[in-house]
């Protein structure tokens, strides 16, 4: 008998159809993965089960949870159900907790709402639940506030709140998307363990096929508000037939075709680079402590090479990037680009800077919304001290797969993938030698990401570009780089040719990173 049964669910928000005839079943103790790209309606399906939809939502169809019709239940019955029969974990642990309340109070609240127990008993039980979620009260007292915890720890608090009453169903909406790979692996393991112990059913929502295939008993693939295919877990990709599912699998393990570069002269040379910040605010008395964001880093990149720089958040890779770009003052060390020093006398010269450009992560924040594409793309010409010609702008746009007519448009007229192409055009336009790709494909859906990776591979061949590819996503780095640097706490702890490093990691940290990455079966 199934615990959750969704029949032909339609959802409109202010008349706009969001879900179209979604049907799915989750059995007792079953983990059901729901996969889809952004806007596919996967989160709305979850919120429909909770009936926590945005204002103006209208559901049709049927949702039965443990025999109770959710769509027909009144608000009081729904409140009694939420938190007790169903727990929910959200994507963004940084904002999911009330910043003004202790974690103990927030976990205890779930218990206090549903059961007639004293506050002290609820707190005692909250401590037990937090311990189950691997936040032992000895290290993490109940009196901690959310801002005193890391992202992964906060997510454990959210999970503790969700499972405090051992609900029958746990809904996890992208619970690991905002986390680093190793933290992601820990949280996934925790969820699996809790599910096993309590016999919970789970609705696990993610955009990442690899995360769910190792975990789920069954999965549903969603697109444009409808379920396109459902199937069994591990062997899913063999059995699944729908073209969209296939393309999704293909894109997830996409390997752009790249020519192996012949080793050439070194282009970028970093020697003993140190960058430190004052630690927090200066203490009132005594001297300022300093944090080493980049700690004695040295490496070289050959001309034509594509080098990956991986590390978890806070490892110093962004600081290093900015230092290479000449945007940060450094305390020690030198950076050479094509033989010239990037920072000479505290100032980065235009002559050096014109040899490198950068592409950022966020396709939405990378452009001034008030300028047209031609002005946006030609901005680096400031380094050459002249304006771009129309021909140069057209060439840059065409080379990234856009048309010259696009230059008269504003940035909001483009999709995320197109914007990232424009960002690449901006980087290319002054024909630099080095392009730094700072998480350049991380914000994109898998299918778009595959296209951009192909474009990058193609461009590097055509223009003989050198890439420094910075990412937290190891599988992407593996597919597009020749060599990888692994960074941890400001230091480069490991490096080597990509293939060797990934298939046979030697350094313990590299090993733990690679083991943490969820893999698609058969990939």
């Amino acid at each position: 008998m199934s615990l959750l049964r969704i029949d032909n669910l339609d959802l409109d928000i202010y008349g706009t159809p969001i879900l179209k005839g979604v049907s799915l079943e989750i059995g007792q103790g079953e983990i059901h993965g729901i996969i889809g790209e952004s806007g596919s309606g996967k989160s709305m399906t979850a919120l429909s089960v909770m009936q926590l939809l945005p204002e103006g939502s209208q559901c049709r169809g049927a949702v039965h949870l443990d025999g109770v019709s959710v769509l027909e239940a009144d608000e009081a019955a729904l409140c009694a159900m939420r938190g007790d029969a169903v727990g929910m974990v959200f994507q963004e642990p940084m904002t999911a907790l009330n910043p003004l309340q202790t974690i103990g109070a927030q976990v205890a609240e779930t218990i206090l709402i549903h059961q007639d127990v004293s506050r002290s008993e609820a707190l005692a039980r909250a401590a037990k639940v937090l311990r189950r979620c691997e936040l032992p009260p000895e290290q993490f007292p109940l009196s901690r506030y959310p801002h005193e915890l890391s992202g992964g720890q906060r997510q454990r608090v959210v999970i503790a709140m969700a499972i405090a009453l051992r609900p029958k169903l746990l809904i996890a909406d992208e619970p690991t998307t905002a986390l680093d790979v190793t933290t992601q692996a820990d949280i996934l393991r925790l969820i699996q363990q809790l599910v096993r112990e309590d016999g919970m059913s789970v609705m696990f929502i993610t955009h990442d096929l690899a995360v769910v295939t190792g975990l789920a008993d069954r999965i549903s693939i969603m697109r444009h508000g409808a379920v396109v295919e459902q199937g069994g877990g591990a062997s899913l990709h063999h059995k699944m037939q729908h073209p969209y599912t296939k393309s999704l699998f293909a894109a997830s393990s996409h390997q752009p075709e790249r020519a192996v570069p012949a080793p050439d002269a070194p282009l970028l040379k970093v020697e003993g680079l140190v960058r430190s910040y004052p630690a927090g605010r200066r203490s009132l008395f005594g001297t300022a402590k300093r944090v080493l964001a980049v700690d004695d880093v040295s490496f070289e990149i050959q001309k034509g090479e594509s080098v990956g720089l991986v590390g978890e958040s806070g490892c110093g890779k962004s600081t290093l990037t900015r230092a290479i770009l000449g945007l940060e003052a450094t305390q020690a060390g030198r950076i050479y680009l094509g033989g010239d020093e990037v920072l000479s006398g505290g100032q980065a010269s235009a002559d050096v800077r014109r040899k490198m450009q950068v592409v950022f992560q966020d396709p939405y924040g990378s452009f001034n919304p008030r300028h047209k594409v031609d002005r946006l793309v030609s901005e680096p010409f400031h380094l050459l001290g002249r304006k771009a010609t129309a021909a140069e702008i057209d060439e840059a746009l065409v080379s990234v797969g856009l048309t010259p007519a696009d230059k008269h448009k504003y940035i909001h007229e483009f999709s995320g993938g197109q914007r990232q192409r424009i960002a690449i055009a901006r980087a290319l336009i002054i024909k630099p030698e080095l392009i730094i790709l700072d998480e350049a494909v991380s914000a994109l859906d898998v299918s778009i990401r595959a296209q951009i990776l192909d474009l990058l591979a193609d461009l590097s061949e055509r223009y003989g570009l050198t890439y420094l590819f910075i990412s937290h996503d190891l599988s992407v780095v593996r597919s597009i780089t020749d060599r990888v640097l692994v960074m941890k706490q400001g230091r480069i702890v490991d490096q080597g040719p990509s293939e060797a490093l990934f298939s046979n990691p030697q350094h313990p940290y590299t090993k733990s990173l690679i083991e943490a990455v969820p893999v698609l079966p058969g990939a």
Binding site: G87, F90, L97, L100, I113, V158
Partner: protein, 315 residues
């Protein structure tokens, strides 16, 4: 927490010192000699010189500044040029009207704004919400002194519920005095309450959209429980800032409203002092008001750290 308080206290002191410098030296450049003004045009030069000596006007500006500030710290505000009595006494007499008036108005502001703001926020988009917000638009646009005149017209002259102005003195009993301050306090409070109600509403709407409210609802809290348990305290943070700012508007507004109701408060004192060139009184009153504003904002800053654990220093 301690560090935060120490830092805040430091910046409080700096603000006070700079404010006193600004006030003193702005008024220092005033043309015209208070001594000759006080004695009239027919005074003998010797008398003027003697008075200048007595008032300390012959000292260098810095020496007089230091003397003034030292006096301030000890509660000695100097001697009024015109009344020839200690300024502290005159000010104290007026303060017992102006300060209760501002406090009364602040209390009314909060008592009106909080319920109205919360009530409107929980009914976002409804007819009730729209009409209440329309009313606050009117409240903000009304000049408070004109509103005060209208209230006198209606409640004092037509209905005869209140007296049209004047102040009986606190000796007449708390309720009598309070009644005399009621119309002034309402006219001060209404525009500020309109502003605060709008701030409360929009701040609450912002917090109600936050992820942690969804988390709370997923735990099984009703909308009301989530509002009381999680949204209100978070929504209070921007509201506190506005309350701090409003206090200075209330003080300044009180100066004007005292004119409408013929209340012998600081406002009337200041206008008299200006027309009589009694600069020491102007200086002291302005300094006192600025001190009050800076103190209130200091208290608001401390209140932040009480509301928001993120400011209590990291463990």
């Amino acid at each position: 927490m301690l560090r935060y308080t120490v830092l805040r206290t430091g910046s409080l002191l700096i603000s006070l010192i700079v404010a006193s410098l600004v006030i003193f030296f702005t008024l220092e450049v005033v043309p015209g000699d208070p001594a000759s003004f006080m004695l009239g045009i027919n005074a003998q030069p010797e008398t003027i010189a003697a008075l200048r000596e007595e008032l300390g006007l012959n000292l260098s500006p810095w020496a007089r500044y230091v003397g003034w500030v030292t006096g301030l710290v000890q509660g000695d505000l100097g001697v009024s040029y015109t009344y020839r009595t200690p300024v502290a006494e005159i000010v104290a007499e007026r303060l017992v009207i102006s300060l209760p008036l501002a406090g009364y108005a602040l209390a009314l502001t909060i008592l009106i704004a909080f319920p109205v703001g919360i009530w409107a926020a929980t009914r976002r988009g409804s007819v009730a919400d729209i009409s209440v917000m329309g009313a606050t638009q009117l409240g903000i646009a009304i000049p408070n002194f004109w509103f005060a005149m209208l209230m006198v017209l209606v409640f004092a002259i037509n209905l005869r519920w209140f007296s049209a102005g004047g102040f009986p003195g606190w000796d007449e009993g708390f309720w009598v005095s309070k009644k005399a301050l009621t119309l002034p306090a309402i006219s001060l409070a209404l525009p500020q309450a309109s502003i605060l109600a709008r701030v409360m509403r929009s701040s609450l709407l912002d917090t109600l959209d936050q992820d942690y409210i969804r988390t709370a609802r997923a735990k099984g809290l009703t909308k009301g429980q989530a509002l009381r348990g999680h949204a209100l305290r978070n929504a209070l943070i921007p509201v506190l800032t506005i309350i701090g700012l409003q206090f200075s508007f209330l003080l300044a507004g009180a100066i004007i409203i005292e004119n409408v109701f013929f209340l012998p408060g600081l406002g009337r004192l200041v206008f008299q002092a200006i027309s009589q060139r009694d600069l020491i009184v102007v200086e002291s009153v302005v300094m006192l008001l600025v001190f009050a504003v800076i103190m209130v904002n200091f208290l608001v800053d401390l209140a932040y750290s009480w509301v928001d654990p993120r400011l209590r220093g990291r463990r």
